[in-house]
Symmetry: C2
Subunit: 416 residues, 2 copies
């Protein structure tokens, strides 16, 4: 590996062309409620067709792997080197927007096109990838690193189709997904451009986020058992009120997470009360906590602290807390060398930038298992995402694609 050297005259993509493609894409899956390109839906299929056409218009030759991921290779000059991989996804959540996914996917295509137009040959091959079904649990990228098991194929996606049906529908082969699996060394590095989906860049007036990693996540489902009783006849000191216990716990979890510096977040997002009637003391509450941080040790520490708090509140309210873990992902750290090339590219382009974690999950967290990973964030207006109000300004899209272009060139020099 060679050290990174600055890029004194940065190249630029065709930002107008890129934003024009995004604007055209906005028509696909657009409904009154927002963009609906849920994986394996008709709109997703239409989106994939649009994207395959865009690859071809851009001089690339897309192929499908057995998982249904779309990949196009630009050859490099050194046949011994693994590819630098760039890309994102194009599927959306229900009632989402047009920026989460397409910005990174189309920018990766535009970067490959710009390199060819500007006759830049790199040592490494470039693989431009569009992962399938990111929003349904990073299915395509999980399969790519070998985490998708045959039994997972019977899981039902949001479209109502099983993964097996979905993979078949988009042109993959569910019985041969193992053939697409990559291992350490197969990919030189992976760089993904994405909208921030939060408000840090906007509030800090920064144009580029240099992602330090993707937070780890714990989803707890907490069941609190009290005793249902008459709201009129049961004195306050005789109650075993599951709602009161849940409320105290919600407040205490919030206070605990805010009691120390850092970017850790915890959210009580769901609460289901039994019997949920005005005049009955709740006998049971089931609630969730979503805990995230970039530091795995901190996640462990807060998880233990939540159980301790639950014990104390259970004792005080004569209720019983029990915990289930519904999701548990480790933080995925960006590679320092990839962060450096991203940051240096932003600097060379004279774009304001800052390092930051990603609070949302991305395909990059999967690829990080087998390759040095980095991400580039561009601002989301108002920090809004997964919403029809999701928006990133065209100039910010172009800035992000320019950083990606120059980061790829720099990584080509810096990495073995």
């Amino acid at each position: 590996m060679r050290g990174y050297r600055g890029q004194p005259t940065p190249l630029r993509v065709n930002g107008e062309r890129l934003n024009g493609m995004l604007a055209q894409f906005d028509r696909i899956g657009r409904t009154a409620g927002g963009i609906n390109r849920v994986a394996y839906s008709d709109a997703d299929l239409a989106g994939r067709k649009f994207t395959l056409d865009l690859f071809r218009q851009s001089g690339l030759t897309p192929r499908l792997d057995t998982l249904g991921n779309i990949i196009a290779r630009v050859p490099g000059t050194d046949a011994k080197l693994s590819p630098i991989m760039i890309g994102s996804h194009i599927d959306s959540v229900t009632d989402g927007g047009n920026y989460d996914g397409p910005v990174g996917s189309f920018s990766a295509i535009e970067v490959a096109r710009s390199l060819a137009e500007q006759r830049v040959r790199l040592r490494h091959p470039i693989d431009v990838v569009v992962w399938q079904n990111e929003e349904g649990g990073t299915v395509g990228s999980q399969g790519f690193i070998g985490l998708l098991k045959p039994e997972d194929l019977s899981k039902v996606a949001r479209s109502g189709k099983t993964l097996r049906e979905g993979i078949t529908l988009i042109g993959g082969d569910p019985d041969r997904i193992g053939e697409s699996v990559k291992r350490k060394g197969d990919v030189a590095c992976y760089i993904e451009l994405h909208i921030e989906q939060g408000g840090l860049l906007e509030r800090g007036s920064r144009q580029i986020g240099v992602v330090e990693g993707i937070v780890g996540l714990r989803w707890f489902e907490v069941t609190i058992k009290g005793f249902s009783n008459h709201a009129g006849t049961t004195p306050m000191d005789q109650r075993q009120d599951a709602m009161l216990a849940a409320a105290r716990f919600t407040v205490a979890v919030n206070e605990a997470v805010r009691s120390e510096p850092g970017r850790q977040v915890a959210t009580v997002g769901r609460m289901n009360v039994t019997p949920n009637t005005t005049n009955v003391i709740p006998g049971q509450v089931v609630m969730t906590i979503d805990l995230r941080d970039i530091d795995g040790a901190k996640l462990e520490r807060f998880a233990a602290r939540f159980r301790q708090i639950a014990k104390e509140i259970g004792d005080a309210t004569r209720t019983e807390f029990s915990f289930a873990i519904n999701a548990n992902s480790q933080p995925a750290l960006a590679d320092p060398r990839v962060m450096d090339v991203v940051q240096a590219s932003a600097a060379a382009l004279q774009l304001t930038h800052q390092r930051m974690p990603s609070g949302a999950g991305h395909d990059a967290q999967e690829v990080a298992h087998i390759a040095p990973m980095g991400m580039i964030f561009v601002p989301s207006v108002g920090g809004i995402s997964h919403s029809p109000r999701e928006f990133t300004k065209p100039e910010d899209v172009a800035h992000g694609a320019n950083v990606l272009l120059n980061a790829v060139i720099a990584a080509d020099r810096a990495l073995a």
Copy 2:
């Protein structure tokens, strides 16, 4: 009105016969989930038939008023006097027990039978009443005092039938309900025996509760509006979390109500969260508070305090609270003379007793609008009611009926 004089040799009902009738009644509407004699259901109709037969076996001649209430009169010796009214209801909640209602209804019948068997003639007529549809909102007793309006007849009861349909089904006449309305002076006094539905008597080892009144009630529906956002990407200090606001409010309401002495109670029984998803900060919560106390001024004070707390928490969490009132009933105080005759009867029977409010609503709270009212409580085992586990010991049922018998005799002497 003459002053009350003690009853040196109290009379007694046939407790075995009374409890035998209750045991037979337990078969009607019994399901795996508990007693289901919801008003206007087939089981309610079967229960009314059983009850009408019991009236007749007891030497009484029941009639139906136009509301469908069952009333039987025992003539008095003074034709100028209004009746002393005793009774309760026989309908149940969904999955309830056999004691809430039938204990008071059958005891009232037993009291009239015992008076006849023991050849006791009173000055006042006795009206033995079984109110229809108590659990659906004291419908029969509200109609009796003129609170049921023609437009109320289209309301749908828990059975799925409208009140109009229900009243027709049980033998009333919805177009002539006005003919059943009574006014001040029409009833000399009303005394209702009922199970406590709470645990005060059991914990205090008392056999009889002398009810001081029925608490007033406020039902608030509180809507909290925040802003829904991504649980991973939104920093803790940038949130407008409706769930956190609801939790703080729930804790603060509980603390406020417990911060001063008294028997006031407040319950957050229902909470509906939007979107109610693990990984989304809740944008809206709708929750209820059930506030009760025997003191109307205290209700007003706490209602104002809750709004003040909501304002403070709304400001602190950048959420908006709004209040709707879903129910608002004033406290119904027992008449001191009726309390006195109940208490003296318990004392004459050498039963331990205490004065206490009723935290639950009863037909007595309606009749209190037009007549001096009193209630007798007998212990609920474990304080449990509205449950298949509802139970009152046979000896306590008999104690209650004996107090009712002697209270009627004493009231006959004490009241004009």
